[in-house]
Symmetry: C2
Subunit: 316 residues, 2 copies
C-alpha cells in the first residue's frame, strides 16, 4: 500500500519538490537551482541527494507510489523534455527514464501548466469539475485544458499552448517566438511592462507616478501599486490587458465550453483591477449560448504548492 507521492516542479530558475500524501498535504518540501550543473544527470543526482533523506524520514522508498514531474515542454506521452527554451539541457532529454533509473520508482512527466491544472482539479478550486481551463499569468502565459476530466494532450502531447494564440494580428512582436500579436505578449508580467512603457510614451501629457519609477523597476507590481492609488495610466494598463485577455478567453470558451477558467500567477495579485475588465470583454465577445455561464476564478492554491501538488497527482 503506497502512502506518498513525490511532486517535482521544474522551473526556469528554481526546482521545487515535495512529498505529498493522497489528501494533498505537502509533508516536506525543498527547492534547488535548476541550472546549477551543466548536465541533466547532475540535476537528477542532486535531486536524488536532496530527496533521499526526505524519503527515509517518510518510511522509505516502499511507501512511495512514484514521482510526478512538471517541466517546461515536458511531454506526457514520451516522458521527454523536448527543446525547452528556458533550460540548459538542449534537444530531447529522456527525463522520465533517467529519473526512474536513479530512484527506482515510476516517473510521470507533463508540462508545467498541465501539472498546475492537475493540481487545481484534484486539490484546488476546480475540484469536481470535468471541464475547465487554467491560465497562468506569470512571466509568460501558460495553459492547461481539461475536457471530460482529462488533460488535453493532443496527438503529440503538445496541446494547450494558449499563450501563443493570436489575438491582435500584426500586433506586438514576441521576442521568443518571432510571432506578432499573441496573448503572451500582452497578458503576462512582461506584457504589462511593455504596455506601461507604450502608454507612458504615447500619453506624455497625462500625469502618472509611474514616470518616477526607473525603467528597471517598472514591473506589473509597480503598476498595481500605482493603480490602487488611483493613477489613471496604471488603471488604463489593467483595462487594456483585461480587454485583450477577455477576448482571448471568449475564444477559448467557444472552443471547449468549460465550466470555469482558473487564473493564477503574478498578474492575479491585481485582483479586480484585472478581473473586471477581463470578465466584461469576455462576455461581450461570447455568442448567446455561452453568455453568463462561465466562471472566472482565481486559484486559491499557493503557486509553489499548486505545481508540486499537480505534479504529484500524475502518479496516483
Amino acid at each position: 500500500m503506497s502512502d506518498f507521492a513525490i511532486g517535482v516542479d521544474i522551473g526556469g530558475t528554481n526546482t521545487k519538490f515535495g512529498i505529498v500524501d493522497q489528501q494533498g498535504n505537502i509533508l516536506i518540501q525543498d527547492r534547488m537551482l535548476t541550472n546549477a550543473g551543466d548536465d541533466v544527470q547532475d540535476f537528477i543526482d542532486e535531486l536524488h541527494q536532496k530527496l533521499l533523506p526526505m524519503i527515509e524520514k517518510s518510511g522509505g522508498i516502499e511507501k512511495f507510489i512514484g514521482i510526478g514531474v512538471g517541466a517546461p515542454n515536458g511531454n506526457f506521452y514520451s516522458g521527454n523534455i523536448e527543446y525547452a527554451a528556458n533550460l540548459k539541457w538542449k534537444g530531447i532529454i529522456p527525463f522520465s527514464k533517467l529519473t526512474s533509473e536513479k530512484f527506482g520508482l515510476p516517473v510521470k512527466l507533463t508540462n508545467d501548466a498541465n501539472a498546475a491544472a492537475m493540481g487545481e482539479m484534484k486539490y484546488g478550486c476546480a475540484k469536481g469539475m470535468k471541464h475547465f481551463i487554467t491560465i497562468t499569468l506569470g512571466t509568460g502565459v501558460g495553459s492547461g485544458i481539461v475536457i471530460d476530466g482529462n488533460i488535453v494532450l493532443g496527438h503529440d502531447g503538445f496541446a494547450g499552448e494558449l499563450g501563443h494564440t493570436i489575438i491582435r494580428p500584426g500586433g506586438r512582436l514576441h521576442k521568443g517566438t518571432g510571432i506578432r500579436g499573441t496573448l503572451e505578449s500582452y497578458a503576462s508580467a512582461t506584457g504589462v511592462r511593455e504596455t506601461a512603457l507604450e502608454m507612458l510614451s504615447d500619453n506624455p501629457t497625462i500625469k502618472s507616478t509611474l514616470r518616477e519609477v526607473s525603467i528597471n523597476d517598472l514591473t506589473s507590481h509597480t503598476v498595481f501599486e500605482a493603480a490602487i492609488k488611483g493613477d489613471k495610466i496604471a488603471n488604463d494598463i489593467f483595462d487594456y490587458t483585461g480587454q485583450i485577455l477577455g477576448e482571448a478567453l471568449a475564444n477559448f470558451v467557444m472552443f471547449s465550453s468549460p465550466e470555469a477558467i482558473v487564473l493564477f500567477g503574478g498578474l492575479t495579485k491585481a485582483g479586480e483591477l484585472i478581473l473586471n475588465p477581463t470578465k466584461k470583454a469576455m462576455e461581450a465577445m461570447l455568442v448567446e449560448n455561452f453568455k453568463n455561464k462561465v466562471k472566472i476564478l482565481f486559484s486559491d492554491l499557493k503557486e509553489a504548492d499548486a505545481a508540486i501538488l499537480g505534479a504529484s497527482a500524475l502518479v496516483w
Copy 2:
C-alpha cells in the same frame, strides 16, 4: 441483431435522411423541406410518413438500432434543439423525446457540425484519427472537434463554435451575432462575397471581370470562376480569406494539437486557391512544436452524405 441505423440531417432549408448500414453505405435516402409545417410535431409526422416505407422495405423496425440526428443547436446531453436561429421552432424543443415516441426507436441528437465530424471519423478522411477538427466553410462556418476519439461537447453540450471566435478584433460586423471580427464573417461564402464587394470598391482602378457581375450574382462561386481565369482581385480575395482562415487554424492547433484539420463545404471547391494561402498563414503563426505536423485535408465525402452518415454514426 441490428442491421441498420437512420441518419437525419436537419438544415435551415432542407432535411435529408437515409438508411445506413454499419459499413457506411447509404441504402436509401430522401429529403423534405424543414420548415413546411409550423410545428415540430408536423415535421416529425412528415418525417415518419416518409421513412416508414423505407423502414418496411429494409425488413421492418426490428432491424434498426436507432435514429441519429444532426441539427442546428442540437444538444447531445439534453436531446433538445435549443434556440436555433434558422429554424421555425422557437425556444427549447425536446426533439429526441418526441421523435423517439413517434418511431419507437432510441434517438441521439447532436449539432450538425458535430454530426459531420462523426461522419469523417467513421467513414471519411479522418478514419482512424483520434485528434482532428472539421471546419465547414459554407454559408456560415461550423466546426466539430475530436479529442481522444470523442466529440468535444463541453460542460453544457455547446462546445465547438469556432466560427464565432475572434480573429480580427474590431473588424467586420457579423449581422447575426452583433460581434465584430469573427471567423465566420470572413471565411464563409457570405464572407467571401463581402470581401469581394470591399476589394472592388477599395481598388477602383484595378480591372476585374467581377465588375461585370450583378451584385445579386456575386457569390464565392463567381469569384472562383474569375480567379481561375487569372483575375487579380478574385485571386486577392482568396489570398485574404486564406490568410485569415490560416491564422484562425493556427489558434485551434495550439489549443488541441490535432493530427489534421478537415475542411468541407462550398468554399473548398476553390481547391488550392484557398488551401495554399491558408496553409502558408497557418504555418507562419505556429510556434516550433507544431510546425509542419498538421495536415489540412479536404473532405472526400459528399456533403449530403457526410451529414447523414455522421448522424447515423451516433447510434452505433
